[in-house]
Every structure is written in structure tokens, then in C-alpha cells.
Symmetry: C2
Subunit: 198 residues, 2 copies
Amino acid sequence: MLQNYVSEAFLERIPLYLNELEKYKNDYISSTTLANILNLGEVLVRKDLAKISQGGKPKIGYHVMDLMNDIKDYMGYNNKSKAIIVGMGRLGNALYHYSGFNKYNIHILEAFDILDDYKNINEIKDFCSEQDIDVGIITVPKDQAQNVCNLLLSQGIKAIWNFAPIRLNVPEDVIVQNENLADSLSILIKHKNDVVRK
Amino acid sequence: MLQNYVSEAFLERIPLYLNELEKYKNDYISSTTLANILNLGEVLVRKDLAKISQGGKPKIGYHVMDLMNDIKDYMGYNNKSKAIIVGMGRLGNALYHYSGFNKYNIHILEAFDILDDYKNINEIKDFCSEQDIDVGIITVPKDQAQNVCNLLLSQGIKAIWNFAPIRLNVPEDVIVQNENLADSLSILIKHKNDVVRK
DNA sequence: TATATATCGATATAGTTATACCGATATCAA
DNA sequence: TTGATATCGGTATAACTATATCGATATATA
Ligand SMILES: NC(=O)c1ccc[n+]([C@@H]2O[C@H](COP(=O)([O-])OP(=O)(O)OC[C@H]3O[C@@H](n4cnc5c(N)ncnc54)[C@H](O)[C@@H]3O)[C@@H](O)[C@H]2O)c1
Ligand SMILES: NC(=O)c1ccc[n+]([C@@H]2O[C@H](COP(=O)([O-])OP(=O)(O)OC[C@H]3O[C@@H](n4cnc5c(N)ncnc54)[C@H](O)[C@@H]3O)[C@@H](O)[C@H]2O)c1
């Protein structure tokens, strides 16, 4: 196991913390308070924060501004990240025009498609040779996803955010995050049905 | 803890299994094979399948068609689920027109907005009184999300799929699944940066 | 200044999830 | 028909994650 390994659950909590802290700028907050707001255990929150923060003060808690900055440092939000997106259909368009990524200093620099309205996919090579791209976002139909993935990998991209409902084949050193919305919705419905049946 | 409690991780694996099995219809498959394809432990797969299937045969494995049907029964894919969506901006449009939910027998019956192009949000009450809706999908701006959520709850909806980057306040018996895409992307980038730095 | 208290952070414990192991069994090959 | 073997499914173990406990400490209050 890697030295500074942390669990996925932990990483998913960090943006939640950051989001809440936003409301308490210019103040202090205790792990107890934060835990109660987010419906988490107080010790869990304290342990999480211990991993990334300079520490809090007994009786008072954590200095919110400092804590937010520690979180941003830890998650890399203080550094700009660059993404490109391939497939400018409905979903690609939504993501490309979404401003919510800026909060994390993530910028979708260019959008590629086979259609004329966008930068042509053939130009991806030129574009990537001039930019160091952190993430490739795949929003093409599933039968095109592996092709597009290969293209992105050939440009040296090491992280893929994949919305096509298919498992991509990639080398060991490439990270793929599948965002399977249909699976996700089906699980929500499963939960709902189980509760009702209970 | 509930009697038939299963972990979230387990539920997330089930659609992956179903997806792979699609390719092996009219055949048998062993837990070992399935595990290797999906990069999972063979025992884990076997334990997962034991929870939902009629069982496999030594030396042979599981009858794929039967297994698929067991999975569909378990997840409720054999029953139709009904959803409505509120907020027909870019993201709402993408989801509304996406055909991939049909695979799980999930149907988005109607789309509401304040804009004239869609069913007006004021008509939601009439609509819901005639239909038993399983899930409400929220794709409105975040400052409208809680309002819309309350409206959905007032119509008796017990499951919310929320894309607005905000935590919704709901009663105990309502299930909210937050789909925070920005958080998700930021975590992918965090992973990528860690690997590079390693 | 002395005392009470909320919180931190460290350690110990519990609970949950994944893996290892092993006997039983159905199939395939000889 | 017989023996070898891959796989199942149950039990035991390990790994990981979350919670409980407790002494130390900084602040607020008397
Ligand atoms: N729309 C959704 O809400 C949704 C939800 C979940 C998953 N998805 C998945 O996301 C992907 C896109 O969905 P969508 O609804 O936006 O589809 P879409 O058909 O609207 O868009 C696909 C786009 O990809 C482009 N394209 C096709 N092949 C290409 C190639 N080789 N290179 C570059 N561009 C190419 C097309 O021109 C089109 O613009 C699909 O895989 C879909 O399964 C979509
Ligand atoms: N676009 C994305 O890729 C993306 C990604 C992540 C999260 N989100 C979130 O999803 C939500 C929608 O994003 P979008 O990009 O589609 O925004 P958008 O502005 O394109 O669409 C919002 C829609 O909601 C409608 N609306 C506003 N108030 C309403 C109300 N009270 N009742 C009914 N309809 C109402 C508007 O008329 C508009 O059509 C936002 O909360 C956003 O933060 C979007």
C-alpha cells in the first residue's frame, strides 16, 4: 500500500467539508459542529481534518480560513487543472458550459467533436502538443468511447473522466473514473424500493 | 441494522456484472472468469452472486441467462420505474433525452421548467396526482434546488436525484442521492496528481 | 487568579468489508 | 467407469474503516 494512502470515502468527504466551511469564513468551527451539520461522527471528522490541517485549538476548534486553505492545498484546488472534452452532444455541451468546475480551479480548455460546430477531433494532436492536459472527458457514444480514449492516451493524457457506459481498456498508469449515471439512478431506485418494502 | 442490508459497494458492482454478462448470453460463466474481467477478487464475486442468485454449478459456473434474470429481479429492473425531471437547462435536457435509462426500465415521464417550452412547474401537482412517481430529478440552479425539492416532497415523492451542488433538507424517510459532478472530477484530478507525484 | 468545560488528538475497540482457505461436487477426459 | 480438476459455497482470517474512550490543553467564567 502507498505511504500516504487515503480511502475514497475520505476523499469524498473533503469537498463536503470545504463547502460547509464556506459559510463560516472569518470564524472558528469545531469538529463536533461540522460533524453535526453533515451527519457524520465527530471523531471521524477530527481524524479527517488531522490528515490535512495544521490542527485545531481545544475548546475553540479550527480556524476556518486556514482550514479551507489547507483543504485546497491538499486537494490541489490552489493549482489550475486543465481538461478537454470530446463529444459535444447534449451531455458534452452541458459539461462544457458548466461554470461549477471553476470552484476547484478546473478549466475545460477545448471541446472536440466530429461535427463542424466544434474544434475538429483531428486537431486534438496539435492542441495537446501545446498544452499539458490533466484530464480528458469522454462524452461520445459508447461505441466510439474506446477509440477516443486511445486518442487521448496517445496525447499523453493520464486521467480519463468517462461518461460512456462501457469499461475502457487502459494501461496501468492511467486513471479512469467512470461516471455511469444510469447505474447510479438504478441504485437510487433500488434503495427506494427496499425502504418502501421494509 | 436492517435484516437484508447490503453495502453500497456491493450495489455498485451489480450493474457491472449485468453489463458483462450481456456478452455471454446463452453460456455459462464462472466467478473466476467474471472476476478477472472486472479486476475483482473471485471470492468477492462469488459472495456477491450468492446473495442474489439461485447458485452456480461446480466446475461450470453460473447459467448466464438465469443469473441475469436473478440480478434484474434483485435490482428491480424487471419492474418499470417512473421519474420526472425539474429544470430543463442543458443538463436536464441531456438527461431527459438520454435513452440509457431504458436498460433499467426507468422512464422519465415528464419534464418541468419555468420556461414555456416545457410543462410548467405549476402543473406538477396535477401530473403527480395521476401518476405514482418513483424519483424526482433536480437539475435547477442551486438556489432553487431546495424549493423544488420541497415541491417534489409535497407530491409524495420519496427519492430525489440531485445534481445541484447543495445538501438538501429532507425528512428521514426520503432518500437523496447527490450527483456532484464537480466534486467527482476534482477527486479524479487529486488521484492523478498523487500518482504523478509518487 | 483559580476552576470548569469544550475540544483536540492519541490510543483502544468495534464493526464492516474483502480475502484466504478448504471440503464437497459436478463435469470432463482417459 | 474412474480419476483428475475447476468451481462452488461455507467458514476462518485479514484488512480496512469508523467509533468510543480518555488525558491534555486552551479558553471562558467565577
Ligand atoms: N445525455 C445523458 O444524460 C447521458 C447520461 C449518461 C451517459 N451518457 C453517455 O454520454 C455519452 C454522450 O451522450 P449524449 O447524450 O451527449 O450523446 P449525443 O449523441 O448527444 O452526443 C454525442 C456526440 O459525440 C460526437 N461524436 C461521435 N463520435 C465522435 C468521435 N469519434 N469523436 C468526437 N466526437 C464524436 C457526436 O458528433 C455527438 O455530438 C454517451 O456515451 C452516453 O451513453 C449520456
Ligand atoms: N451543466 C452541467 O454540466 C452541470 C454539472 C454539474 C452540476 N450541474 C448543476 O445542475 C443544475 C442545472 O445545471 P444547468 O447547467 O442545466 O443549468 P441551466 O441554467 O442551463 O438550467 C437550469 C434550468 O432550470 C430552470 N429553472 C430555474 N428555476 C426553476 C424552478 N424554480 N422550477 C423549474 N425550473 C427552474 C431554468 O429555467 C433552466 O432551464 C445546476 O444546479 C448546476 O449546478 C450542472
